[in-house]
Symmetry: C2
Subunit: 304 residues, 2 copies
């Protein structure tokens, strides 16, 4: 069976919206624990304004404090040239850029037009060039915008094209608020792969409407082999209190390994980390396998 690459974004995408700041030492310990599980990529932090995202104000300390495991890509989200300089100073392996396919969402998210965001990325690419650091271009709201609704396919193509012209190494199609459904994922992922056959595509899903792993299945059927998840399913949806956020990394790995895909991830180690996470954040998490156990975990026969 095919190799599938699993990325974890809990420390960035999850911790950034937690009500409480997670201490730097706890973040570092968790990333080190995740590094030892065999994950292909860890999004460790974001080099953004500490005023905008106070929970990630320790980006430098986190990146400098973690132990780098060979084979793991340590990625950081970067919004602009200043963030890129900070990230390079900390020797990240990869810079992750984000623009929304939706004009309205991009304005709401970063207070810029998508054109302003994409133009700004030229400065980032200039700074990164020659450093050996990779760049990934994420297209958020690819599968729908909470304000605009449907996003035309042509708009997604346009964003991908602009990223590839900039010279990025990978593209992430992100379902930012969990609006994707499997038919759409299968069709759009196939369409992007057909139009840009050399682009290395990652799919980033949220489980907001319960379709997260169904969308992964659809993505696999479209030939995609890279997926983002979040440990424990940490994260949430700003528009729906109580709704879940990102798909759960250990549930993702469990499904993939059950189906015979090779993820390179030690699921038992990942589950140890996942079961520790509710104590770190102080609340229950939506991940299922951490509660129910693996399908191979059998139970004693009850007495008759």
């Amino acid at each position: 069976m095919a190799r599938v690459y699993v990325h974890d974004v809990a420390v960035r995408d999850g911790f950034q919206i937690e009500p409480a700041f997670v201490p730097t030492g706890v973040k570092i310990a968790l990333i080190d624990e995740l590094s030892a599980t065999g994950l292909a990529k860890i999004e460790a932090t974001a080099f953004v304004s500490p005023k905008v995202v106070p929970n990630l104000r320790d980006a430098e300390a986190v990146m400098r404090g973690i132990r780098r495991m060979p084979g793991v890509i340590y990625s950081a989200l970067v919004p602009n040239a200043k963030g890129a300089e900070r990230a390079l100073a900390c020797k990240v392996d990869e810079i992750n850029l984000v623009v929304s396919a939706s004009e309205t969402h991009n304005r709401a998210n970063v207070n810029r037009t998508t054109e302003q965001s994409l133009s700004g990325f030229r400065d980032v690419m200039r700074i990164v060039r020659g450093t050996g650091v990779a760049v990934n271009g994420s297209v958020s709201t690819t599968f729908g915008c909470p304000f605009e609704g449907n996003i035309p396919e042509a708009r997604v193509f346009q964003c991908v094209e602009r990223y590839l012209e900039l010279g990025v190494d990978g593209i992430t199609l992100a379902d930012t608020t969990g609006m994707a459904h499997p038919k759409q994922v299968r069709e759009l992922a196939r369409a992007v792969s057909t139009r840009f056959p050399t682009a290395e595509i990652t799919l980033h899903f949220h489980n907001t409407r319960g379709m997260g792993l169904a969308n992964v299945l659809a993505g696999l059927e479209a030939g995609v082999v890279r997926f983002d998840g979040s440990l424990g399913g940490l994260g949430g949806c700003p528009f729906a209190p109580g709704a879940t956020g990102n798909i759960c990394t250990e549930d993702l790995v469990h499904m993939l390994e059950s189906m015979g895909y090779q993820t390179g991830v030690d699921l038992d180690k990942l589950l140890v980390a996942a079961r520790r996470l509710p104590k770190i954040v102080g609340h229950d998490l939506p991940g299922q396998v951490a509660k129910a156990g693996k399908i191979t975990d059998l139970h004693p026969i009850p007495h008759q």
Copy 2:
């Protein structure tokens, strides 16, 4: 796009394991509410021993109290001849029989060998014959047994064959404790359909390891068009406190309708019922769409 038939089992499969007895009038009102949504089938109760399942001790009162909506099949679980007589006296539309593919699980569940269960069903068929009441044969632990682990495909075939010899009208392949994964579902559902081309197959999934809707997708790909769900995702797993149970009916309908399938279900009405359910049972439920809204529910643009 194809028609897909959605069944709800919350009032039986869900309420039976709730810590508190749900009053008969509340059950009847909920079934009546579900009847008006356009669901194809409602499993309304079980004619079992009130000592074994005290929560369903009001089976007669429930079946006699509900309003029958034309087009909806009102089904009841029946373990033996006595249960069948009780069910027929209440004019159910369908009797649902259950045997485990796993010998160990059947013993643990009903304290009989599978052979004893299947032989007993002959008496049920004799009682039902000529009444016009349909019979559905469920094979629980089809996709794995919590005690035995993997169930050989041949064993599932054997159970289906025995049911068909008995003269049942439909077969349900049930993933009783959420052990199915999409590859297995696709292969096994195809294999059963190929071997028994005239069998009308329903898939019954639990979301215990987060793969519920991914398994539905795999079932659709295998050509299955009938699925059980439970309103709100009500239910649970006896082996995993905190784990979810059945797949959530409204999340299932939401996914199917988003993908263009016709379910005949009024999702908005179903969501009204789902949002009322936590008050009935006194706890939060795992359903996502009731919390997050439909993917077509847009949000106001935030002020800049």
